[in-house]
Symmetry: D4
Subunit: 252 residues, 8 copies
């Protein structure tokens, strides 16, 4: 029973099309289903969508292709949308064999098989990135936000070294309901963007850079110390996490 199914059922009850006894029976049945699917090496959370609005998402990193495929089968087999992040082409091959409709977003390194069960959020989620090299992380965020039911726009390569590129898009910045701002190197972009808008900014440091960027630490620290208010931060390269939060906010 997806969150959408539950909503439908409750509306049927209010409309008198379904009796309360019948509705209660169906909810109990869904609930009494095991709250997770025990695969031995993994316990797939089968009620995540009820608790948090979207089914469990699979982090591909550190899992074998066959482990990923088995988990994907468990999720898709219940009729839920499937999202696998940090997925290699090998993992995709394994998943596609079991979940035929799954699509691979190469730039985002993500496998998606959307069932569209999530209602679309109120406004626009704008994904901004500082440089071309930040693209994989920005795309992970954009693809995640889209599959979670959000209108997504992109604004790429507008780093602070050439402010006019950013300022010329002032309208689009202010039109967004939530912004995901992705940057490596010194990670200054979220601070500048947050000073221009009144919407929440989710900052994503990337591991792009070299030397004293220390794999994204410089950008991470820059974002945590932002002198602009309205900026919160997720892990280095965590486009998925930023999109999850943006989606929660956009669905409020």
């Amino acid at each position: 029973m997806t969150a959408h199914d539950l909503q439908t059922l409750l509306e049927e009850v209010r409309a008198g099309r379904t009796g309360t006894d019948e509705a209660a029976r169906r909810v109990r049945e869904a609930m009494s289903a095991a709250p997770f699917d025990d695969l031995g090496f993994a316990r797939v959370d089968t009620q995540r969508h009820l608790r948090q609005g979207f089914p469990e998402v699979v982090l591909g990193l550190g899992k074998t292709a066959s482990q990923i495929a088995a988990i994907a089968a468990s999720i898709a087999g219940r009729g839920h949308s499937l999202l696998v992040t940090r997925a290699t082409p090998e993992a995709y091959a394994a998943v596609r064999a079991i979940v035929p409709g799954a699509v691979y977003h190469e730039a985002a390194r993500a496998i998606v098989a959307s069932r569209g069960e999530t209602a679309v959020g109120t406004g626009t989620v704008l994904v901004v990135c500082a440089g071309t090299s930040d693209l994989p992380v920005a795309e992970e965020a954009a693809v995640t936000a889209a599959v979670m039911g959000n209108t997504v726009e992109r604004l790429y390569d507008v780093g602070v070294a050439g402010l006019h590129r950013l300022l010329s898009e002032h309208e689009r910045l202010r039109a967004a309901r939530v912004l995901i701002v992705v940057a490596g190197m010194e990670g200054a972009l979220p601070s500048v963007v947050a000073g221009l808008v009144s919407a929440p900014v989710i900052a994503v440091p990337t591991s792009i850079g070299y030397g004293a960027s220390f794999g994204g630490i410089a950008a991470l620290l820059g974002m945590l110390n932002s002198c602009a208010s309205g900026v919160s931060v997720v892990n280095i390269d965590n486009g998925f996490g930023a999109a999850s939060i943006a989606s929660l906010i956009n669905h409020l």
Copy 2:
């Protein structure tokens, strides 16, 4: 001209009570006021409330009492709400002499003189903290959220070492529209809370701990690496920042 004044003016226009010429004149006048007040050592942003919904907030850290008082006079003198964070009692004495109605929240180390010009946000901002020692940071968040126009609730000392304390408040957790979760030491509380709710969680690491807590680094890293989705993070001890974001979200 506060954001509220502007809203009122525009509604008067729509209602035909004010002509468009007159309205345009008033907006231009407000805009033509210098966009900042140059005190030499500080440039107070006089239009922050128009851009971001709340006047400039003063970070007391690293400023002398007389600098703080001068900035406070500039802000309060324009009829805006005043919030000074990380304020010492000395700074409060200096401010109170110039802004008579200012109040000092000792636990939160904050000076507040609220004009109530901000509309109240939709839902409840719930401030959760792991231990008694995290209280100053939690109170900074709670006081900030309140002055920014939010209904605030507190849930303190519910760290993960005694889960039943947290689980017994499941209802209050799920009722909140946004959660600010404050924790030091291992910083595990936001991960656990985010697994129980479907609202966004703003995590605030605190510098509470000793030894390998490294002044809050352990908690910060724990939160950045949260295995739960829906968690974004602000700087160590940054209760103010968390509340700013929570308020932005709650006013969407």
Copy 3:
């Protein structure tokens, strides 16, 4: 002379089947054997089992396959149980040629040739892990604990983002005599588990994660700063070390 041989001998003495002179002679002989086997590049400790209850264990990391095989021959050649951790398939091939009965546990990356000379410990060692990706470390712990003479149970993929998966196994958690809790990312699981049980918890951070996980530092710090009492910590990815301690405790 294994610890078991010594025990047997002493029991024979107590039973009068062996004279004290003869027994003393045999012990002296065993003792007068060189306390280590000098291979030039290695000095294999031949009396470790007498001092610490289990023969020397070989850490495969940083040794060549032929070095490992030579050390393995020295240990197994004395009739002791053999355990090689962090072993590559190449190392296994070299060992198997010399120690025919040796088995390779792929998930655990361990070579085992057990002689069963160790008495079985009192209770159950429960190996808990947070996510599927932590499996190699958890398996290293489980295989080590088993070869050291312990009843081992496994409870995998019960991370704190979905607490119900953990709480539903409350009985098994409380039934264990010692717990090994393996987690990467934020490393919060040991804190939560230790709050639910009254047995000692050995926490093992793993290098699983990315970005600000810093190869396991985040998890390590989280565990060292655990707000729950009863948690001690071993090195990142050190499943072997955790199992050694758990076994010592379980044999008390």
Copy 4:
């Protein structure tokens, strides 16, 4: 109802001195008591002794003297043993006013009011420290272990620079059931001790040292990387934590 009370009750039941109905009633009553005492700034866990064998212990660090006194009153008022660690003389003055029998261990910086409700553990807990400067941490461990119901012995200033001081106490080392080994600077003592005994070693790094000791990091890393098996580690200066684990093990 202390763990001891419960044990007594159950033995009365087995002996037929108390009926099962009456016993069940009493247990339910104890259980239905609020599982924590909500002081606003703190939620004192009132059933910790049932779950983990000893009442909640108060970490004095970061709490005001009056907060500590209020929590102490809540614990002692239920008839439980009281232990406050990292307590200043001021905190002690505040506690003593409310809990008259409380004693202050100056070297250990601990406040203790023992009710002796905990059974005494099986063997000896030996607290070993490397240098005179490590004494406060060693004493925190020794006092904690004692109040938790353990026979405690001390072996101080036996650092590895003068091995003969340690080797001359070989008998006492091997006689202990659990060892707590406290060391600052290079933190080598636990590795050497663990090579001499077959009991579990809980290593406690201290912040003693200067320069590249980095407040205990050098000792912490040394202990985590111990080449000896049987060593697990707690946070820097965490004598209390080491003693908690040692006590759990000694009560198995």
Copy 5:
């Protein structure tokens, strides 16, 4: 013989007012003076002005007031300009007793006794700072640049959170020959400034901030990883160093 004296002498030679023999004699005499003044605890470089255009500057940090005074006497006694940075009021009292004309710049924590022997540089050195708290470092830079013979301008509190404050001063930014940009927290200001001008930018991170600012590391890393070209960096809080370089450049 100051650099200015030398220049004057050479011009006299060219003008025929002084013979080459006489000139050579005077230069040799100046050169044969001891190249340093050995005070035992210090060797004052007496020819620094000849090699690098300005006499040796005294870093007050870590020296006693009497050591500073003795060094100051050695420098001023040769008729050179005196600059002591990181000077306490106590050091100033000791210096003033020996070098009567010395002035104390409190905000800059600097003692100055200028002889004006340095020619004035070509253009303007503009000192920009992000926030009011960065003032001591900015003032150290401004005072140093002035005493080294530069026209100095100041532009304070123009951090990136309110870009309009910076953009409104675009003219002054572009008019400078060298810019010193001082910022704490995320340290983004130099990147933004460097994108707006074509002059070299010397970036100075400050230790202003808290939590994950780590005493200026966040700002330092931000500046080292600047995505804008034309930015070089000096040590945290090193206003003096930035001004020295700016002065070298401005005197080219």
Copy 6:
């Protein structure tokens, strides 16, 4: 319109060869051209040369060969000089297909197609390096400085362990207008050089070294803490950045 074109046009105006109306028209036209070329994944800054004296430079790191080629086409297609740093041979192959005259400097890992539109700077830029292993970074600096219009000299393998190698080149050191000093390991060379000259020194730490060099951190810290004045620092291995600054200075 390159900076050179603009200069030419203005001189024509002064000479009366072009009317002011015509000149104004041409400048407006150039300005009204889009200030960046939006390739979707990149926004190429088309007026960088006007603002900062040299066209946008492409950092090859983290970009695909086809992305680099497209950006190169956009830059070269406008008649600007092309510089791609951190370029692989693959990237060069892709670029050469589109920009036929492009040259690959293997030691410097740089692609260059110079149009010579930049005026030559006043003096010499001297590139000094400490060891043979620092050559790639030194060459990146030398090639960059050359293409930006500077007379470049090289002085390689003059590390401080054999001072006579450096001192024997004293003349060349003092003759330079700006110095770029490249060093790995302990990074002491810039301090020693800066003590010998009165020109600005741009220090470039390299990642050369092992063990406690930590990928260049040791050299970076050494340079930031230089006891010599006149040293500013760029990111580890950032030869390009050092040359950009040196060129700005040399063109003053």
Copy 7:
């Protein structure tokens, strides 16, 4: 029995002035004395001078004045030379009351009561330091080396920013048998010195500096990565340690 007593005794034996039986008896007696003096909080090593040529030295850091005095009494009471490093004036007052002849070296923060039992080493130990602020560490080294029986010379404030100060002392540098080179900030001096001499250089980083000196880490790393051979390093500010090694070498 000091090392010197033993030497004397053996020479008497060789000279026939003492019989072998008598000599053996005396050595046995000295040896059978307890190898350490157990003060409870400290075990004073009473045979350190026999094993390592100098009695145990007391590190004052982290010990109370009365603990230091008691240990001093134990050492001096056996007729050994006393050296206490990192001693406060309070500690000195306590020691002087018990060891009347003890002297306090203020700059070195050391208490000394020398018995002159150590033979004087072969050559000169030269203590070199980079700046005036490094003096306390340099003096700790110089005082330690002197009391351990070495001819000590000092060469202070010869940092690399003014090489001529160092080069002018080339003779004294080359005349030393061992060199102790003390430096803070970038720590380059040992590398330069080691390139000029053929004697071993013991490098001592100091915590002098600010910002990115990180309490001596920059200097420490610089010295560990020295491109000159012949440099070994001790802990930050460890003047005592450097002198101990220098003395061992000088007595070979």
Copy 8:
């Protein structure tokens, strides 16, 4: 002219076999030879043996095989001993083609072509290592010490987890004139060894370990914080550096 040649010449002068004029001529001739050989990418120090007792040693790391071969040719071509450390088999192939007698020590990763021009040092250099995995570093030290003219002994795999292995070699430890002690992981071995001997100990941390060993940082910190006196430290894995110092000491 090698140091040995010089010695021979001076002895001929003393013996009257060579006149002082002739001797002075020969020395001048040798001295007037260029003090370095400029290969463009390298300046080979041709008088290193005169200043420091052994010709320049080549660090293979970061140099191409052909660069190494050219430098080797320059050194060997002057009749000096050749030592290349961190050399790959490829580098060896290139060197052997030019320096036919060169030998490759595989375990030590070193190329050696010894001319035996260095006198043999007084005593024995003992190379001790903690574990089998530390062998490459220990061998680099042993091979270096041998080619520099020292009697070398080896004592391998005597880590502190099995103290009896070390204590059984007490005689050999005390017989050495200098000790090089190599250890990874917790790096405790030098502390223990230094407590047993009165000779100087050069400690070499290795990068052996995993997790919190951080590539040798744990061992490095352990050694820097050694509680035993007489220990100085070189860079991680720097077997060559340790041997250079040991050789200098052994030749005193």
